[in-house]
Every structure is written in structure tokens, then in C-alpha cells.
């Protein structure tokens, strides 16, 4: 009867180790990237809130200046971020300052510029539109 060489042959442990290390690495990288994204989100949120309150403070200053002056109307757009701004519209009625607008507005993203597409009109080629 032939004697067995052992339960584990040469190379089995290496393959197991490689698989184990691969799984560990993937798990660690996923955890790290997730935590980093979470931190970036928290920082962006904090910056956004600081920027909003800075714009709000500027709007309050404009309001105070407007209340002290004698102008009839004031419109201002105070930038909060690249895509957001605080819209301010004040009017004076019977000596009282009336707030028409005091809200954040989001600017629309610019339309993507790509290749000019054919609109289906054949007239520019001398034909007729089907």
C-alpha cells in the first residue's frame, strides 16, 4: 500500500494565503474609500453651511444699510457657492421695508457642449423634410 504524502501538497498554502490576502485587501480598501468619501461629504456640508451663513450675514448687512437709506428697491444676488446664491429683493412701502425675496437659488448647470447634431431638416442639403 502506498503511503500518503500528507494532507496538504506544496502550493496549497500559497494559494490559500493569496486568496485570504486578496479578500483582506479588498475589504480594507473598501472600508477606507467609504470612510474617505464620508469625510469629504461632511467637510463639504460644513463648508456649505459656513458659506450660507456668511452670505446670510452679508444679506443682513445689506438689509440694515437699505433700512437706513432712502432707496425704493434693492435687488442683490450673493454668491454662496459655484452653483448656489442667495437672492435678496427688498422694497420700501409706506416707509417700511418689505422683504420680497430672501431665498437661495440654484443656478442651472451649463448645457453640455458636444458635436452639432442633424435636426432632420434636409433643406440645407437641397431636399425636403420627410
Amino acid at each position: 500500500m502506498k503511503k500518503s504524502d500528507g494532507a496538504l501538497g506544496v502550493g496549497v498554502i500559497t494559494i490559500s494565503t493569496v486568496l485570504l490576502v486578496l479578500c483582506l485587501s479588498v475589504m480594507a480598501m473598501l472600508a477606507f474609500s467609504s470612510a474617505r468619501a464620508e469625510l469629504h461629504l461632511a467637510q463639504a456640508n460644513a463648508e456649505n453651511i459656513s458659506a450660507y451663513y456668511a452670505a446670510d450675514m452679508q444679506a443682513h448687512r445689506l438689509y440694515a444699510d437699505f433700512a437706513a437709506a432712502s432707496e425704493e428697491s434693492l435687488r442683490a444676488e450673493i454668491s454662496i457657492s459655484d452653483r448656489q446664491s442667495l437672492c435678496l429683493w427688498l422694497e420700501r412701502e409706506d416707509g417700511q421695508v418689505r422683504v420680497r425675496a430672501w431665498n437661495t437659488v440654484t443656478r442651472e448647470a451649463e448645457a453640455p457642449t458636444g458635436p452639432e447634431l442633424w435636426d432632420g431638416n434636409l433643406s440645407e442639403f437641397g431636399g425636403q423634410k420627410p
Partner: protein, 114 residues
Amino acid sequence: MRLNRNTLFLTELVLNVLIFALCAGACVLMLVRADSMRRQSSALTDAVYIAQTAAETFRDGRSSLSFDAAGNLTDGGGDYTARCSRQGEELTVELLDRHGERIYTLQVWGGEGR
């Protein structure tokens, strides 16, 4: 031949243990760093929320939060301390952790409302 096979197996085992230890160490470092970032982001999110609430409360004089004479949040009782100070028309809210380190600062309008 038998000795060579055993030696080969032992060498492979030792090398694998070494490689595994190295990779596991790197992964543990990465996980520790991820945990630290997660704690940091959690603290920042909480601090922003508390600072915003404290600023609005302090500014409008509502009574859901109470402050002592120095402007410290007295009923926080948790991991953070909110410190409010007014300079002219600017109201500054500082959020400190339990070690006294500043996490977040928020400046809001503290003058008369519109």
C-alpha cells in the same frame, strides 16, 4: 528526497506566514485609519448640526438650549461644548470636543432680525 519535501513545505509555510503578517499589518493600518476618518466625519457632522442649532437658538433667544454667562452651552451634557460669543453684530459659535479641541466654527448674523 523525504527531507527535501519537508524542507520545501516548511519554507513555503514560513514564507506564507511572513507575507500574510505583512499584508495583515497593512490592512489593519488601513482599517484603523478608516475608523479614525469615520470618527472625524461623524464628529464634524454632529458639530455642524449642534453649531447651527446653537446659533439659531442663541440668535433668536429661544429657550430650547440654555447658555451660561460666558456663552457656553450648559445643557449639552454630551461629547461637545458649544461656545457662543458676540462681537458687534457677528455671533460666533465654536464647537469643542471633550479634549477642548475646536472641531467647527460658525459665524452668523447676531444683530437685529429683518
